[in-house]
Amino acid sequence: MDAYRTPLTIGGISLRSRLFLGTGRYPSPAVMRQSLEASGAHVVTFAVRRVDLDVAEDDPLLSQTEGRDLVYLPNTSGSSTADEAVRIARLAREAGLGNWVKVEISGHPRLLLPDPAETLRATERLVREGFTVLPYTSDDPMQAIRLEEAGAAAVMPGGSPIGTGLGILNPYNLGWIVENAGVPVIVDAGLGSAADAAAAMELGAAGILVNTPVAKARDPVAMAAAMKLGVEAGWLSRQAGRIPRRRHASASSGEEGGLFAARPGTAGGDAE
C-alpha cells in the first residue's frame, strides 16, 4: 500500500502532505497552530495586507509558524488586476519566505470568483519572473489548460465559491481538468467537510486547499485532523480503483452451495 503513498512534488519541492491549509479566520493564533499540527499540512497560505501603523502590533500569526519546516504560499487576494497581483507577489517575495505565490484575482465582491483574463496574464508574468505560480481558477477546463501552458506549477480550481462550503458543484468539470492536466491539480475553495476533501481526491486531485471549513468549524483542530484523514482516504481510494457503478445488485457470495432452489422465474443470476 505504501506504493501508493507517493509524495506530491511542486516547484521541485517534495511535499509531506497533499493537504494545504489556510491561516485565516481562526478563533486565535494558538488554535491556528494546533490546527496546523493536526492537519499535517506542509504548505500554508497567507494574505498580504498593509501594516496598521496607528497601532504597532506584533505578529501573532507568523510567530506561530516561524521556525517550522513549511512551504509558504502567499496569495494575491485583494487584487483585481494582473498588475496589482504582480505587485503583491513581489512584495511577498521580499519576506524572504520563498518564491511561491497563489495568484488570486477576484473581480466580484460576492462571488469572489477569479477573473480569468487577469489571472492568466498575472500567471504568465510571474512565471517569467521566476515565481512558482499556483493560480486559483474557476472549474473551467479550458482555463486550466491555458494556465498550464503559461507555466503554472499547479492549477487550483475551486469546488465552489470561496468560503461557501458548498463542496464540489461540478464534478464533471473537475474530473475533466484532472484527466487533462500535466501539472498537479489542487482543489481550492468551497469545500465544507472531510467528505468533500475525500470526494475531490477521488476525482483525481493531487491535493486540496482548505481554510474556512477548518477555521470556522466548531472544533477547528478536530476538523483539521478530519481533513487530513479525508485527503488520505480519498487519495488511497482513487489509487485503489473503485468498482464501476452498476444498475443491479450483485451478491457478495456466489450461488453455488445455496440451500434453496431459486424461485421460478428468477433463475439466471445476474440480470445484466
Partner: protein, 302 residues
C-alpha cells in the same frame, strides 16, 4: 514570597489561548520561565470553578514563591488567600476594596491614561497596569494607548507599573525603550508553544534595560541599533503617502522611516512607488517628497 518591588514579569491566565492544555500546566510553564506574578482572570467560569482554579493557582504560586492575584473579585481573593486583587476602571472602586481588604491584599488598578494612573496612585493602589499599549485580542475593541502613555507613566508615576496589551518578545524592546521596566503578558505567553521560553526571553529583555539604568530612551535606541547618525543636519520634513495616508516625516531613508514606525525588528515588506524594495536596500533608499510608501505584512489567508 516575593516583594512586589522585585516583580518584573506579570502573566495573566487566558485559557482560550491554549485549548487542549490545562491552565495549571501552562501557568507552571510560565512560572518556570520566571513569571513573578500570576493573575487569575476568567470571565466565563462559574463561581465554583473560579474558586477551584484560585486554590490550584495559590498552591502553585506558593511553590514558586510567586505572587498570586485575582482579577475583579475581592471576596474571592480573600477566600483563596491570594496576595492581591486587580481591579479595572469599572470594577469595585479602589477605596471600597481597600476598606474591605485592608493591607491583607495588594491592589492593582488598570489605567488607560495618565489621569487614571495619577488617581490610582493618590488613592493608594500598590501598582497599576498601563495599557493596552498595543491592540490585543484579550480586550477587543479597546483603543490602544501606544508607547506614548508608557513614556508618560514612566515620567510621572512612582508606584510600580506594568505595561500590558500586546506585550511579546517582538514588542518588548519598544515598550522598554519607552520607559517601562515591568511587563505583563497574556496571549504571547500562554498562547505560545513554549511559555517558559517566552518568559525567559521577556525577563532577559527587562533585565537588559534595567542594567542600562534610566538613560534617555531615544539616544540609547539609536546606539543600540548600531545606527550611524546621519552626517547631514536634521532633514527637512518630507510629505509622503504612507499606506494610503498623507504624513510628514523628518526621516531621510526608508530604513529610518521603518525604524521610526517601530517596524525595524518585524517581518515587514516595503514598496516605494509600486516597486518592492528589498530589506537590504532600505537604508540606502532615500525618501523624496510625494513618495508612495507601503509597509505590508503576512496575515491569515486562504
Amino acid at each position: 514570597m516575593r516583594n512586589l518591588m522585585d516583580c518584573r514579569l506579570y502573566v495573566i491566565t487566558g485559557e482560550s489561548y491554549h485549548p487542549g492544555r490545562k491552565m495549571i500546566e501552562v501557568m507552571e510553564a510560565a512560572l518556570a520561565g520566571g513569571a513573578d506574578i500570576v493573575q487569575l482572570r476568567d470571565k466565563n467560569a462559574t463561581a465554583a470553578e473560579l474558586f477551584g482554579k484560585a486554590v490550584e493557582l495559590r498552591r502553585l504560586t506558593r511553590r514558586y514563591g510567586a505572587l498570586f492575584v485575582v482579577n475583579d473579585d475581592v471576596e474571592l481573593a480573600l477566600a483563596a488567600d491570594a496576595d492581591g486583587v486587580h481591579l479595572g476602571q469599572d470594577d469595585m472602586p479602589l477605596a471600597q476594596a481597600r476598606h474591605r481588604a485592608g493591607r491583607q491584599l495588594l491592589i492593582g488598578i488598570s489605567t488607560h491614561n495618565i489621569e487614571q494612573a495619577l488617581a490610582a496612585e493618590r488613592g493608594g493602589a500598590d501598582y497599576i497596569g498601563v495599557g493596552p499599549v498595543y491592540p490585543t485580542p484579550t480586550k477587543p475593541g479597546r483603543q490602544a494607548v501606544t508607547t506614548a502613555y508608557v513614556a508618560e507613566a514612566a515620567a510621572a508615576i512612582n508606584i510600580p507599573f506594568f505595561a500590558i496589551g500586546g506585550i511579546s518578545p517582538a514588542t518588548a524592546e519598544a515598550v522598554l525603550s519607552a520607559g517601562a521596566r515591568r511587563l505583563c503578558a497574556v496571549s504571547a505567553v500562554v498562547g505560545a508553544p513554549d511559555p517558559t521560553g517566552v518568559c525567559i526571553a521577556l525577563k532577559r529583555d527587562i533585565e537588559r534595560w534595567e542594567a542600562r539604568g534610566s538613560m534617555r530612551p531615544e539616544s540609547e535606541h539609536g546606539a543600540a541599533a548600531g545606527e550611524a547618525k546621519s552626517d547631514a543636519p536634521a532633514t527637512a520634513a518630507l510629505t509622503l503617502l504612507l499606506n494610503g495616508k498623507r504624513i510628514s516625516t523628518g526621516t531621510a531613508t526608508l530604513g529610518e522611516l521603518a525604524h521610526s514606525l517601530g517596524l525595524a525588528g518585524r517581518r515587514v515588506m516595503a514598496e516605494r512607488d509600486g516597486e518592492a524594495v528589498p530589506r537590504a536596500d532600505w537604508d540606502t533608499t532615500r525618501l523624496q517628497a510625494g513618495d508612495r510608501i507601503e509597509f505590508v505584512q503576512f496575515v491569515g489567508g486562504g
